[in-house]
Symmetry: C2
């Protein structure tokens, strides 16, 4: 692997915006996509960062993704809505849906929005974070095309189906969990391949569904929980599918086709699901802030095992990366750098 | 271990009710507790079944649990409420809170209820199931006293903090996930001790926080995800604490004392959190039922790895146990049998 080049965040965002516009994305769509991809790149989640711009380019040009969608929000009750993304970029659908959930929660205490007619939306954490930045607890999930076996299964069934939760923290960046329900993301397998390192146990399988250590043999992932407790990861992946596709009426994991791999360039009708919760309607903003403070102080003061660093809360490490990358620039792999014209 | 005795479900429920009444529980409290404990015992989750009646007996008699609570529901917005359990049995708090969430969801599409002033409520799945039986998707969680290390930690920080989700399935029992966010429940460690078997890897630790295989050395649990990915389980445990205690203003895991272990018999102010979601306000009841049917048919038809049984959906195995135990009776351990007067 050639070394990545380092690009300042503002410059990188500008080029991504430009590239998306060239491919046919309108201003709201490209702005949302830049925001979501920069979330990934700034937080160190490079698999869900600006490298995805190359993945969206062809589908935008072929019409598999609609670059000029008319997103339609349909309120269905005091606290719920459905949002039709009109087959646009998933990031635009995602931010619009979470914005609607926050508005519903402002009035009704909690708001839930099911999105359909969407496409790949990058990191689920970007949308949970948007709710936390508005003072709410946010939950975001999506399903994805099959890549993960069931517990004891030999075929890809669920996608890497992420679950993301974010919550405001007084005086610091939000608590932020964003996890795949597979043992690891598939691009981590690709990284092991490039490095020539054996895989950890019980995270990936070969075409027969048997766990493998050689990354060259890995074709599918195992669910979180590994050889003994993978039924837990499979159940959590099912929660993502339940909310994102079954409740919303969107496409199930095993019926989804990867972007750019559909022979007909037919939109995939991907679904997502979003919840925002207003702390003011529970213990109250002040009381919740105090509880969060006590919780995080105790967590960070909890003593580590010998040889381990002090425990961290979800997001702590990522927010350190954000600070460092805002200061020093963002590493961009050579392929993506070329696509972006660096 | 002496063999358990087998008792018909109706007879067992009657004795549990009687025992709770003798200890001071009023009719609504004992009815809810019988329902929740029978849920555990019928589903094969014996750790959260009728054996708990012995655990509640002392606290009910000492007043640590209020046997005659005046549960108070306070609606805070169109879709949200807080419920004060008046330090009663957690099962009564739990069913009342989920009932309120279902009613809110009927009007507003989604309903969320935060409960405080509660106590141990048995299996979280019992409450998620109550929502599914009312045609809704249900989510229930609670925090619990510290017993699980952080990822790389050496002290108990989170409780075994369960996450439960249930959803209606046309023509069959609900989809039902109910999982601890620890690698395993602690009573599984006790079972390995009784059997003299070594523990699986990366599920329990000794007093220094180091993973152990000898169940006699295990004093705490590791979070789901084990040695390499335990940060995921720890984050999910944090989600349970966030919703159940931080959002509601109830007691944090590390400030909770086990029932019957408080020197002052002071109630613990345990919190829980409940969500109900009405499918009618998303894709619609018929469309969701069709999606669930397609999803479950595909899952159960997915081929197994060599040497594994066909994949199952969450709850499939437990519903088989329910059927068998309703037919053949419920195994009750000798200690509990004695408490119940069998």
């Amino acid at each position: 692997m050639k070394a990545p080049i380092i690009v300042p965040a503002a410059k990188l965002a500008e080029r991504v915006q430009q590239k998306l516009t060239e491919a046919g994305a309108d201003a709201p769509s490209s702005a949302a996509t830049v925001r979501a991809l920069m979330h990934g790149s700034l937080h160190g989640v490079d698999s869900h960062g600006v490298r995805l711009v190359g993945y969206y380019d062809g589908p935008l040009r072929s019409g598999e993704i609609n670059g000029r969608p008319q997103v339609r929000l349909r309120k269905t009750a005091a606290a719920t809505a459905m949002l039709d993304g009109d087959n646009g970029l998933g990031h635009h659908t995602g931010y619009e849906a979470m914005k609607a959930a926050v508005e519903l929660a402002r009035d009704s205490g909690i708001g839930a929005v099911g999105a359909t007619g969407s496409s790949h939306y990058g990191a689920a954490g970007a949308y949970a974070l948007a709710a936390a930045e508005a003072g709410m607890i946010g939950f975001a999930t999506t399903n994805a095309e099959s890549l993960v076996t069931l517990f004891g299964g030999r075929e890809a069934f669920h996608g890497t189906n992420p679950l993301a939760v974010a919550a405001p923290v007084p005086g610091e960046k939000p608590w932020l969990m964003d996890m795949a329900t597979s043992a690891i993301p598939f691009n981590r397998v690709l990284l092991y391949r490039s490095l020539g390192h054996p895989l950890p146990e019980a995270i990936a399988v070969d075409a027969s569904g048997n766990p493998v250590r050689d990354p060259a043999d890995a074709t599918m992932l195992m669910p979180m929980g590994g050889a003994d407790y993978g039924f837990k990861g499979a159940a959590l992946a099912g929660v993502a599918t339940l909310f994102s596709a079954i409740l919303t009426g969107a496409t199930l994991d095993h019926d989804l086709v990867s972007l750019g791999k559909s022979e007909t360039a037919k939109p995939s009708n991907l679904g997502h699901f979003f919840i925002a919760i207003d702390p003011a309607r529970f213990a109250g903003v002040t009381e919740m802030a105090a509880g969060m403070r006590r919780y995080l102080d105790a967590l960070r003061a909890s003593p580590p095992r010998e040889g381990f660093p002090p425990p961290m809360a979800p997001g702590d490490r990522e927010w350190q990366v954000v600070e460092q990358r805002l200061r020093d620039g963002i590493p961009v792999d050579q392929d993506t750098a070329q696509i972006l014209g660096f």
